[in-house]
Amino acid sequence: MNPITYFANPTHFNRLAGWLMPVFATGAVIAFAAGFYYALFNSPPDYQQGETVRIMYVHVPAAWVGMGLYMAMAAAAAVGLVARHTLADIFCVAAAPVGAVFVALCLATGSLWGKPTWGTWWAWDGRMTSVLVLFLLYCGYIILRHSFDDDERGAKASAILLLVGIVNIPIIKFSVEWWNTLHQPASLLRMGGSAIAPDMLRPLLIMGAGFMFYAGYLVMLRMKTVMLSRKILRLSEGE
């Protein structure tokens, strides 16, 4: 039996998704409810930025999810190239638009946050430019993935693109240290512990969990959809 057709068989995945998706959905609802409460009502305004600091509770988790999904896609692309596991490609196809939307959300909220605090919608700062590049990479992946007639070739070519694009991730992470211009440096994951007040850290982490659950739910849902649409295509081609 061909391993590709074995792994393309969606039963295994569907069983896992059937179990995980309700968990993710409930997790997202609970975390969003708690996160919105803390973020909007039960956290202090910043002593410099005032109420606008609450944008952070959307901006930062969106960035985490956007970058995390890209890294997961690149890992899946490597697995897909080596082990020829079709599910890896399905994951990338399903996750790419989700990741792109979260990065776009991160850029949009960052822009809205930048206007009142920095006085500008956009600046060509290292962090912003590298996140914009991440967004372009997502777009490039999506278009490249869908412009092949031969699905398997498209999967391979776009997997290679994902792997090459991974160089951007450390650039995003360290951009605030290498080009210390406008965007503030890392304050959560850094040497010597977090620099955020606990009252602000709590809603941030809860919202982060909510965003991850929600993204996980969306990706699983889209994976099922991609598998079903491929099944329909196969059936209609009479194979």
Binding site: V133, R153, A157, L161, G165
Partner: protein, 213 residues
Amino acid sequence: MLALLRHEIRLQARQKTEWAALLLFFVLVVILMPFALGPEPEMLRRLAPGLVWVAALLMGLLSLDRLFVQDARDGTLDEMLISPVPLAAIIFAKLAAHSVAIFVVLVVMLLPAALLLNMDVEVLPKLLATFVLGIPSLVLLGGIAGALTVALHRNAALLTLLLVPFYIPILIFAVSACTGDAAQPLLFLGSILALLLPTAPLIIAASLRHTQE
């Protein structure tokens, strides 16, 4: 290896009309800039290195179309894939010849472009140095994108979308080498090139094999 390189360079040299078209394209982009930005000499002097680099980058993008697409069309690519010579070596020679061709075009047109944009004379050697270190990186990255899209028929727009994110750092370092202190950005350009030189031919070879079988 040397024979391969000589062969590829001769091939590029025979395609005079196509390179002449690219050369004109470069000049025309440079000529358009003063119309778009206004003809004040002081401002053009300040912007000149950036404008030349943008024109060079666009010309590079335009030329990439010919890197693998023609070979795929006339069957040379299949020959390359089954050739006893390592695929990465052939690709290396190809990309080196392509870089040399772009470099020649740019050097020929550099003086006219500098005159048109009122460039400072002392910027010229810096600009040449950034071309030496930057153009091969552009071509190596372009080779990766070209190899990924070779199976598609109309790929020019997609190539641009795939490449621009990767071209941004090269453009940043090249232009900052021309406008400010040259040493550090040139080191960055050199390290990008040093990173790409060994890896890009292998990535290109892998993607050609994967997408052509």
